[in-house]
Amino acid sequence: MTDKHDMSEVDEKLVNVTIDGKAITAPGSLSAIQALWHAGYPRIKSVGCLEGVCGSCRVLVRREGNSEVKTQLGCQTLIEEGMQVMFLVFPRPTHHTYKLENINSSWEVQTKFHKIFPEASHCRECGGCNASCPKGIDVMRGVALADKGRFREAGELFVECVMCDLCLTACPELIAPNHVGLFSRRVTAYFHTRPSNLIRRLEGLQRGKFQIAEE
């Protein structure tokens, strides 16, 4: 551990990368976005929280000596010698729409789900969603669980999901897996989160039990 922190000199070593086709030389301690700025390119698009939770900065990454192309978040990708980075455009928004209020009871959730997300049953288990996920979520399993009506369990898999839409881009069946995950999470809260401590307090407030003293 200590060694890691004494590496500040090493971190400052310049590395050569290609970002969106531009040859850039920048310190190795920078992320792909920071490197672009460092080189004088005023990028705004696809920049967000810079902390890996907003899902804006979707990039394709290829490392030197490796033909595999990975999808990652640009703010979380530290540049390396010979790395190639390409910013991805955002896909068209998913065509799936729904309103929670239009699901009348929890008995209807599964039927509604299949109406809203008919493609979820067509999953061909290609694994593209899992491979594309920068958070390492088992997206494919989440879709399968939701398809079986196991929404609570499915939603649990998407705790770290930042809605970057990379799985949506990757899915050949247009399932929009991240929205399936979010639907699963939302119906779980909407129909099953009924905390007695909150409800008791709301009742007390309604009965005028709690007042704020005048100053």
């Binding site: 922190h5 390119y41 939770v53 705790v159 809605m163 999470r185 401590n197 909150l198």
Partner: protein, 536 residues
């Protein structure tokens, strides 16, 4: 930076067995005056023009509040004009709550956001949201804690309304499909914020903001709200009667200006972290450049507490590229101690944020911090101590912290993290009433851009509460105004008055506001927003 070298401090940390809190001999006021960045010499200047003329304001913010506009009348020749009932500016939690309520009330709503829907500080919020729901806690105690932590500078009326609304805010969020951490009986779990008297913060892991934003974004996406992304507002517009009546949008996609005329405008632009006041790192989003303050001030809105900012005690100090990244107060709430380079505690970790931050700055200034290099020092956040007391808690309740550890090459269950205060929140802002309306009729301001709730120091969980509570209220009120008749003669006429005042006061006209994007991005008006063309 002076201090105890990293490896020596680490040895001290490992060998140090005693973790008792030493008696403190320094009062909060004295500590703040000596070490809190708000009191730093030369950082405040009196404003020379505008509604707050004569008030003290942070130097860097003052230069933007008194900056020239980015546009003038000639730029708007031939610009498209679009009409709507309610214009919401900003796509974070406050903007979404306001837009959803306005739409539900039947108004036509356009939401203009500088980046994308949901790109905001909300999505990064970790600790949780306050609502007095536990037995033995009351809205009154919530009010008392909020006012006390704000050094009795908060607006009692606003805080009263917010604390009474808090439980209903949580109910509303659950109805939007937001999850919370529940105990085995399905009750909401709570944790305690620093400087408060009860366990009152409800949360979802340390991803509370992410979970909130996911649900709200999906609600907005499935509504009739017309979302304009990459559409920063560069100027507000007003009618001949002085009502705020729309805004000028700079469309980044085709470098054109669009005028949106609206019956009412809701400003929900967030905070100022990316101004890096006093040279501090920030925990804030890329878009947090204080645009709303500048826009509202120019139109004549009164601001308040422009000299008061929150530096969150536990920003990551190292490594460099992650400096300023937030570590939630939930970690201290779970029992983590702060330790100096000698491995000793030096402050009650659950005091208010201003107090704890000042105490950290004191340790570092007086040579007891942990020194990494010329520019970097900090103190330990003893995460292994929490894990020892409560095995498994980091993975289970603080997954974002564990992820952050991975990025630093540190397992927080085994190694302490080095922390240093990070610019986190703007305590003051636009003066509002209980409906979120500013002193300019028709201009509503909600969330961090508004002021008055937190006084001079905010407690954990009150920001997420404020954005939803006042966002909803302003959305309803703004929609009501859409039933009236439209505004007449909607212009940017206020700019000629501004320029005259700036000239009279001898202000430099080369500074342009609002800032829109942080300096690091090197954005300028004619720059390609995809950044493919290099700046000359």
């Amino acid at each position: 930076m002076t201090g105890i070298p990293y490896s020596e401090a680490l040895a001290n940390y490992q060998s140090s067995a005693k973790r008792d809190l030493p008696e403190s001999d320094i009062a909060t006021d004295e500590l703040l005056r000596a070490f809190h960045p708000d009191y730093r010499e030369g950082s405040l200047v009196p404003l020379q023009v505008g509604p707050n003329q004569g008030d003290k304001c942070h130097r860097e913010l003052a230069s933007l509040l008194q900056a020239d506009a980015r546009i003038d009348e000639a730029d708007l020749a031939g610009a498209t004009i679009v009409e709507t009932d309610v214009l919401v500016i900003g796509g974070g939690g406050a903007g979404c709550a306001a837009a959803l309520m306005a739409e539900q009330a039947g108004a036509r709503v356009i939401m203009a956001t500088k980046l994308r829907l949901g790109d905001s500080n909300t999505v990064m919020a970790e600790g949780g949201i306050q609502a007095s729901i536990e037995k033995g806690d009351t809205p009154q105690m919530h009010l008392d804690d909020t006012l006390k932590a704000g050094h009795h500078r908060g607006d009692r009326k606003l805080v009263s309304q917010m604390v009474m609304d808090a439980p209903d805010v949580i109910r509303w969020l659950i109805q939007q499909g937001m999850q919370f951490d529940l105990d085995k009986f399905g009750d909401l779990m709570t944790r305690r914020a620093g400087g408060t008297s009860a366990d009152r913060v409800v949360y979802y892991r340390d991803y509370t903001g992410l979970e909130m934003m996911r649900a709200l974004r999906e609600s907005v996406r499935n509504s009739k709200i017309d979302v304009w992304d990459y559409s920063p507002v560069v100027e507000l517009m007003s009618s001949e009667s002085g009502h705020c009546a729309g805004a000028v949008i700079s469309n980044l996609k085709d470098c054109s200006y669009v005028l949106i005329e609206a019956r009412s405008v809701i400003l929900a632009t967030g905070g100022i972290g990316r101004m890096h006041l006093n040279g501090f790192p920030t925990s804030n989003h890329f878009g947090a450049t204080g645009d709303g303050l500048v826009l509202a001030y120019r139109l004549g809105a009164q601001l308040r507490d422009l000299d008061s900012f929150q530096y969150h005690p536990t920003g990551l100090a190292y490594p460099q590229h992650l400096a300023g990244t937030l570590i939630t107060e939930g970690v201290r709430s779970a029992g983590a101690h702060l330790l100096n380079g000698m491995g000793e505690r030096f402050v009650d970790e659950l005091k208010t944020r201003d107090h704890v931050s000042a105490a950290i700055l004191k340790e570092c200034a007086e040579g007891r911090g942990v020194r990494v290099d010329e520019n970097t020092a900090g103190v330990w956040l003893d995460t292994p101590g929490v894990e020892r007391k409560n095995p498994g808690i980091l993975e289970e309740r603080l997954p974002k912290l564990v992820e952050l550890g991975k990025k630093c090459g540190i397992n927080p269950a085994e190694m302490p993290l080095l922390v240093y205060p990070t610019l986190h929140y703007q305590n003051g802002g636009v003066v509002i009433d209980e409906d979120g309306q500013s002193t300019v009729p028709g201009l509503y301001c909600v969330g961090e851009v508004s002021g008055g709730i937190h006084g001079r120091n905010r407690i954990m969980g009150n920001a997420l509460l404020e954005i939803i509570s006042f966002g909803r209220q302003a959305g309803i009120k703004a929609a009501e105004m859409s039933h009236g008749r439209g505004h007449k003669k909607v212009t940017i006429g206020h700019l000629s008055k501004l320029r005259r005042e700036l000239a009279v006061a001898g202000m430099p006209m080369d500074v342009k506001g609002p800032m829109l994007f942080p300096e690091c991005a090197k954005f300028e008006k004619d720059a390609d927003y995809e950044g493919f063309r290099r700046k000359k």
